[in-house]
Symmetry: C2
Subunit: 259 residues, 2 copies
Amino acid sequence: MQSLTVVKIGGKVLEDDRQLSSALADFAAVEGPKILVHGGGKRSDELCLQLGIEPKMVEGRRITDAPTLEIVTMVYAGLLNKKVTGLLQSAGCNAIGLSGADGNAILAHKRAKGQIDYGFAGDIDEVNSGMLTALLNTGLVPVLCSITHDGKGQLLNTNADTIATVTAAAMAANYRVTLKFCFEKAGVLRDPADDAAVIPMLNQADYARFREEGVINAGMIPKIDNALAAKRGGVNKVLICGVKAISPAATQNGTEICL
Amino acid sequence: MQSLTVVKIGGKVLEDDRQLSSALADFAAVEGPKILVHGGGKRSDELCLQLGIEPKMVEGRRITDAPTLEIVTMVYAGLLNKKVTGLLQSAGCNAIGLSGADGNAILAHKRAKGQIDYGFAGDIDEVNSGMLTALLNTGLVPVLCSITHDGKGQLLNTNADTIATVTAAAMAANYRVTLKFCFEKAGVLRDPADDAAVIPMLNQADYARFREEGVINAGMIPKIDNALAAKRGGVNKVLICGVKAISPAATQNGTEICL
């Protein structure tokens, strides 16, 4: 089975041009088929504010009303996705930027209204692994932003960590997949105040115990849950790590998540 | 030689949701391999104004300074390209939205400063017909917006009519190409005040004579020049027409441009 690397980079890396260029050069150096997934960062919030739209968040999740959907589509699928694609091209990586609408890459449905109406938030139904494989077989490197669609002409806003998880799991049917969730720390920390206290390997039992003991930062919980979902979905290796772990020559590998 | 249809739709169609849906349904119904190229419309000007950036035009051409480049990238490659792609998907057409950076689709260089500094305006060096052909062979339908790149990480703003022209000519090496420039009139008019006065066929000699006589509206000149360039580039059939001529069942075919 052929190897495939899926790397997710977060908003913070996208906000720092030097860090972004370095991370993308490292990604360009990864051998074999690969996919990049990127988040959004603060730029969409800034644009909302400039246009007089107050960003609305409930429990860390964005409420995507119609004007906000237009803004995130502009920033994620336009500004950031094309910036990343152009930089990867300049680094010799034949990137192709995609939203979920492009080639029907990611089909989603509008999240049902519960106690909270998340607006145009999309929950994923299916990742088009066949189309992504066809692009990979042409030598292209898909770069996915966090916009999906419902197949009926409606764009939707979907969490980038979830996109990375579901994409990696869908590709795992035909590839031996390594998934790296890169964020601003070097891995899951045993002590949030000590950046060097990276837990090299974390399994479900340890995770349950650490959660109980309050050792793991609350902000890490959705990320670890996504990582575990990827493992359960058949992904071979899942890491939560810093951008320095993108490089094939990396010595810091972050935290490997195991079942 | 296989047939290929290249359709360019302008900004005005993109501004009218009903007209856009109808034009895209007609495009979805076109059989065989096809490519859509779309312009920008007023939305980017509106966003410039909302953000306090005065749109700058010289002789009908936009001056693309750095903040304007960000805005056109957001609007053309983000908002409009994804809207068109999502609508085509809903019409059963497997569209994939692309800027020139995606898969290195369109390589350009920043226009040299002459008497006018156009800023981040891109003049096309090469259309990647091999990559576009690979996408077409996968059953995908490329949807090109008017953002190109220089291969060194710089995005550039390029006229959509020119993109349609150079793309159609590049594809003509391997396809029998029909190129339709769709705009708000039904074709080149013999009398700008009479929408029914469509010239069915216009060759270079007639064009020169009409220009001399002042019969043709000045706004049509760059469009006809592009159409002639496409013919000289080997495009089999070039039409300047209304969006109603997109449909394979169209009875109005606009103006065919000949050498």
